[in-house]
Symmetry: C3
Subunit: 364 residues, 3 copies
């Protein structure tokens, strides 16, 4: 197999890559100074395959690198797309939308992606078994992240009078908490290497069985990263006017829309795995990705925000904290027995729809 | 067996039916314009067997109808008594007491009925096993309902300043949420038909093994419904002055008193089942009935309230939401291992008594 | 073996007893009118072995007394040190620090002691199994205590406007709740005698296999109690000026410092048990001790506070309640599968560090 066929393989392995056509359309619309809403939609669509390219290339590289380095690669690049979009938003002062999209990624992966996997897998195969240990590790990690979000908020609210008060103490607590989250996540990686299994994310999450060469994967990773960065910048610029046209708030856009775009690849992979009766894999992609966002992406963004001179604390708003806490408890309740079925999937989807409804009516 | 002996059987199958004597006493007291407290007590006592008649007849009909239609019958008529009492209260503007009695039915079934079942069953048989799947399905359903109650309240509290603010957005969220709850409950019924078991409510909840004819059951159902409707009207009229005499608040009356009356039949059936070492049945009656109130009775009342022109949102007060959330978590913790004993029962009763004490001291 | 060698054995069985040297140092510092900070530190250090002596002697006596009386002895004297320190603080009007140290004992035993046990045991033995029933009983007991703390606080906050309002109703609710907690804990003891196992606390918690005579144990118990009482008085007197010097709040001192001192013996015993691959014992010491503080020490202090004429309600502050609730949920999630490993231990330690960080920044 030639190098170019290797690279081409990355682009033809998923039908989602058809959406890559949205990238040149975005540029043309931007050049034509079209209405921001159209630019926003085109950029959002193009981010789906761009994120998928990063994910696929990371998996290939992880495969080549062996379990230890591979796990590290997955942990750092596995949610690179979310990270790039968030950094673009952070640089443009959209702190609220960054937190909203972190929230949306966490609850979306837990309720929508995992719920849909249970429905699709359960409809095809009846009750499906999965690893209780994987489920347990990931849900406790998520609970740790929930504690990390709840405590600064309670301190802010009770001691300083409101969630809008962000004194210096809260910033220091955010740093402290971020470092603990990253450390425990790192320990989780070590644990999984030691016991030869990744409790948080499966190695072959993004799926195809065919291996390409390292250089091809690196080339695809570069293309994906550059494309994601460019499209994220355009998306963020078109964001404010587009939301005005649509009449939706930053909160709803972040929690529901941006999160859907950034996690579309996970949706596809997890549901495919469930349909193929690989429920442990589906759980690791969805719940594991959720844990990765909470324990890696969120704290890294907090630490980076200081480097950018635009401090972002770990204080989320009351809706976001409530939604994350409830989602984590729901998945813990549903997954502790190591078995799933379509009713459990529907129950999780029901919770997602109630949360989405609430985020929709919250005034800006 | 003759038709009349069939009908009579319904009236003689439970000693609780002795309380039917309270019905004519209520009418006589009402006619004599007696003190409202006595009218209230008599009406409350008469509602216990009236609700039992509806329950028994529904079970018979469900038995005749086969699993599919029977499940549907149970879902709609299984809590008909609670629904009729609530509608009477709703028409008389007692929205607060409707929500309080919904809360009381949910926590009463979870903590008092199921707790007492564990104590009685455990004292007689030691550790008792039951179906983990039944317990899991019902607790997740209840958690879904908890999310449905928490989110509108948080939005109302944080965005609109207080739980007393009920803007139009909250009404729309209540509708949306109610429809999701009903849909997921419906899916639960389909799931149970498909797998030949009802995860939420046992077919023979109300008990006797003897089957009567369909026409006899229909006659009893009619008598029970009419009687419940009449007594509920009288109860609601006497409510306000009776509470004043007793010196208790609407909240306490709804959460503890009305809920005890409306669920007396479930108490009796569940405890009997536990004593007979049928713990799965006891769990399905108590926890299943709780889920039915949260996912069917509550949303149906929200939808009906608009038909009556007396909108009732799904925004419960902070005590009610806290009590429901804690009760659901307690039952989830106690039941996830598929085993019960009298200590677990006492622990649940302890939680009930603490909650009841709190509701008692809350000022009106 | 002679009586004196029996007594001596108590003093030589643990290396922690080296710290007894801190007792005379405390007296000398106090006599010299040294800086309160030094007196505070010396008194705190001397309390570690003093508490250990009480614990060791109680275990010996319980051993002699047989399961029934022994269980009762353990329940009453098992946390005598915490109780003595708390009473000294209560008499000196330090109500806030009493509640803080109760909170600290509960979360410290759950997260720090049990977490460290999982880490040490898991590093030495890999995955360790323990009794699911013990874990379940203790976590439900703790959840009961959580409900007991949450409800009065919600009533106080919502009905009376703030957590600082303590009307008479709240006092009555505190009494009611305290009596329920003690009753259910008592029922737990009866349950454990009946089934020949203690769900809440292992008989040989403090450890050595050698038995001494009853009179020797009684002598040691007396020495330990007198020493703890004396040192607790000195500690409490030096408290306020010492905290001022250190620049930490009463809340942080109570939750973290006093709790560490009072539970040092449990730390040592639980970690030793885990290292010896006796994970059920480690869990019973740590989680069981936590339940004992919540269900015995806290309510007894509430009841005693009225005898002292310094009423202390069960209304804890928002941070304390949140921290306790999150800790109980975390341990429930981690322990429900009857298996522990070092990653779970690290996750619990991570939660402890986040909570400790939050308590550190909360202004006084």
């Amino acid at each position: 197999m030639s190098w170019s066929s290797d690279v081409r393989h990355h682009f033809t392995s998923s039908w989602l890559n058809v959406l890559l056509i949205a990238a040149p359309i975005t540029w043309w619309l931007d050049w034509q100074e079209a209405r921001p809403l159209w630019i926003f939609i085109a950029a959002a669509l193009s981010l789906v395959p761009a994120a998928g390219l990063i994910g696929g290339a990371t998996d290939e590289l992880a495969d080549h690198a062996g379990p230890t380095l591979g796990g590290l690669l997955n942990a750092t690049f596995g949610n690179a797309a979310e990270l790039i979009i968030a950094i673009a938003a952070l640089k443009a002062h959209h702190t609220a939308i960054v937190k909203a999209s972190i929230t949306g990624s966490i609850i979306g992966n837990l309720l929508l992606v995992y719920g849909l996997s249970c429905v699709v897998g359960g409809a095809a195969h009846g009750a499906q078994k999965f690893s209780k240990t994987s489920a347990g590790s990931a849900t406790v990690m998520l609970f740790l992240a929930t504690v990390a979000l709840v405590m600064p908020a309670v301190v802010d609210l009770v001691s300083f009078g409101s969630l809008q008060a962000h004194p210096e103490e809260i910033d220091r607590l955010s740093w402290w908490t971020s470092i603990i989250l990253l450390t425990v996540y790192g320990a989780g990686l070590v644990f999984s290497f030691r016991y030869n299994r990744d409790p948080l994310r499966a190695a072959t999450a993004h799926g195809s069985d065919r291996r390409s060469s390292i250089s091809a994967a690196l080339a695809v990773l570069t293309i994906g990263t550059v494309l994601t960065t460019v499209q994220a910048e355009i998306l963020v610029t078109a964001l404010a006017p587009a939301l005005k046209t649509l009449g939706i708030t930053e909160l709803f856009a972040g929690v529901i829309v941006v999160a859907l775009v950034g996690n579309a690849a996970e949706h596809y992979s997890a549901v495919s795995a469930a349909r193929a009766n690989k429920m442990t894999l589906a759980l690791e992609i969805s719940v594991g990705s959720s844990a990765q966002i909470a324990l890696v992406v969120a704290p890294v963004l907090v630490l980076l925000s200081y480097a950018f001179g635009r401090p972002m604390s770990l204080v989320f708003n009351a809706f976001e904290i409530t939604a994350i806490g409830l989602s984590v408890l729901a998945v813990a309740m549903v997954s502790h027995d190591g078995e799933s079925n379509w009713l459990e999937g529907l129950q999780l989807l029901g919770i997602y729809l109630i949360l989405a409804g609430a985020f929709y009516i919250i005034p800006g």
